[in-house]
């Protein structure tokens, strides 16, 4: 087999191997059996109805959505601010700021979650939605700063100079030139942050209070009672994450120009 054929076979094999197990979540939920797995019972939406009837599921889902939206806004703002400020610093200081900004990206998840757990206690904040929100925002800020910084670096300096020649101050140049230039990149950074937050497990696990996010709730159910109701809940999480991911892919799709 030629190298190219081999690589193509690996590619399609990987596409199947990575996606099909997720399909099992959906498939084994569409049953009337009381045990998860095979043999499948008769097709039924029984467990989806059960999942809908349990208010804890709806609360976790709505909490995860709200945290995703809020932490995405916070991370996009912080990342943009870091990128703008680093452009105003001398190289040595700029390097230091960016290195500090990237720390959460290079810290193993569990270590990062523990540092945040210790930090919120040090400032007197109890575990709960606000702590999770801050944790998710900190986790997503490095990527937002990197994406926005890379996009800002492609901004032709003549555009800013032209705006300044026409009387725009630094604030005006930001609103009229830099922000429109960032456009889709900024929205993409926010969506990526939202997806990271919606999917996050380890930070939510350490920083959450009594109200679990969706991944934490599914994790807890997986460790205790295994009924196909988890499949129904996980199917919902799959669909929501898939929707955010699809929006992200559509937003960051290859542009026809530059």
């Amino acid at each position: 087999m030629s190298l190219g054929r081999l690589a193509a076979a690996c590619y399609w094999g990987a596409v199947l191997a990575l996606s099909l197990p997720l399909g099992l979540i959906v498939l084994t939920g569409l049953t009337d059996a009381t045990l998860v797995g095979f043999p499948l019972g008769r097709p039924s939406l029984r467990w989806h109805a059960a999942a809908l009837a349990d208010p804890a599921n709806a609360r976790a889902f709505l909490l995860s959505l709200a945290l995703a939206a809020a932490s995405a806004g916070l991370a996009a703002a912080a990342g943009t601010w870091i990128a703008l400020a680093s452009g105003m610093l001398r190289p040595g200081w700029r390097w230091l700021l960016l290195a500090g900004a990237l720390v959460p990206l290079a810290t193993p998840g569990i270590v990062h979650a523990i540092t945040l757990r210790i930090a919120i206690r040090a400032v007197g904040l109890d575990p709960g939605p606000l702590a999770v929100l801050l944790g998710h925002a900190v986790h997503a800020t490095p990527l937002a700063a990197l994406m926005v910084g890379a996009r800002l670096a492609t901004l032709p300096s003549e555009l800013v100079e032209a705006a300044q020649d026409l009387g725009a101050g630094p604030v005006g140049a930001f609103w009229l030139v830099k922000l429109p230039w960032l456009g889709r990149t900024l929205a993409g950074a926010a969506l990526l942050a939202a997806l990271n937050s919606f999917d996050d497990f380890v930070r939510s696990f350490f920083l959450g209070g009594y109200e679990p996010t969706l991944p934490v709730l599914i994790f807890a159910r997986l460790r205790s009672s295994l009924t196909p109701e988890i499949n129904a809940l996980a199917t919902l999480a799959l669909l929501a994450a898939g929707a955010i991911g699809a929006a992200l892919a559509w937003l960051l799709r290859a542009r026809p120009t530059a």
């Binding site: 690589a7 590619y11 095979f38 870091i82 930090a119």
Partner: protein, 291 residues
């Protein structure tokens, strides 16, 4: 903008990074040195290295860390070997117009939470899972084959958790590769495998190294895979560290010290692995040139 406004504008993100990105690490370092936590209000905090001494002398702590580093190394290696042909196919063999779509097919499964991916693996590997159902249907097994709750399952879970982190830097490196060099090597008689070693590996060395370092660090921090797929004997230093933070806070200094040990050892190993992989990739090129 006046000078003071400008300073204020710069100060806000600097303070955010200092307080939210770097500060928590320093807070953890401080607590790891405390002998009691929370420190009694009347007494000054007693600084000592008791938690670190406990790590060095405690039962099996060092071995657990070593096993976790080994697991992470294995998962990183598997991820690299898996990611390479996938990235190669998309970067080199797919027409540019379809490249984004083909890459998205690989990325889409990683839009989901790691918890969902681990659940999916449970459904694949469990006694009542899909693989066992297939084995039984094909008549290859009478009783369920235990595939879950062992080191192999955790390794698979780890790779399923982190593969994207390896795939993207390797793809970026291959995507940047100058194609005319490959054509030139082919014209001069180098076969496809030889071109991989002679040209592709040395030129992609940087991308491989950053993928290896990031993936390795990510592997060390994975909690869901060992918690959901591991058995009693599965090494999981991360789970051990997490255990210090359940219940009362008296054991926080130990947990903080163990976290820092994990971070320090992990960063050192990640740097060493990245360096080694990079040096090896570079040498692959020069060695064959001389031959």
């Amino acid at each position: 903008m006046t000078r003071s406004l400008r300073r204020l504008f710069i100060a806000v993100p600097v303070l955010w990074v200092a307080a939210a990105h770097v500060g928590p690490l320093l807070a953890m370092a401080r607590i790891s040195l405390l002998d009691a936590y929370p420190a009694a209000p009347e007494a000054a905090a007693v600084l000592g290295g008791h938690a670190y001494a406990a790590f060095l002398n405690g039962p099996g702590y060092r071995a657990a860390l070593g096993q976790s580093l080994g697991m992470a190394t294995a998962a990183t290696g598997i991820a690299l070997v898996l990611a390479w042909p996938l990235a190669w196919h998309v970067a080199m063999e797919v027409p540019p117009a379809q490249r984004t779509r083909r890459l998205a097919l690989l990325i889409a499964p990683f839009w989901t939470s790691e918890v969902l991916r681990m659940f999916a693996l449970v459904l694949l590997l469990a006694n009542r899972g899909a693989l066992n159902a297939v084995l039984r249907w094909a008549g290859l097994a009478d009783a369920p084959v235990p595939l879950l709750y062992g080191t192999g399952a955790v390794l698979a879970g780890m790779v399923y958790t982190v593969l994207l982190t390896m795939l993207l830097p390797v793809f970026a490196a291959l995507d940047r590769l100058p194609r005319d060099l490959l054509d030139a090597a082919a014209d001069l008689g180098a076969g496809p495998w030889r071109r991989q070693g002679l040209i592709v590996l040395p030129l992609a060395a940087g991308g491989i190294a950053s993928g290896v370092a990031l993936t390795f660090l990510l592997c060390l921090g994975v909690l869901a895979a060992p918690a959901l797929l591991g058995g009693a004997g599965t090494p999981a230093f991360a789970a051990m560290v997490a255990g210090f933070f359940g219940g009362a806070s008296g054991r926080w200094p130990m947990g903080a010290a163990f976290s820092l040990v994990l971070l320090a050892a992990g960063t050192a190993c990640a740097a060493a692995l990245a360096w080694g992989v990079k040096a090896g990739s570079m040498r692959a090129g020069s060695g064959r040139l001389r031959a």
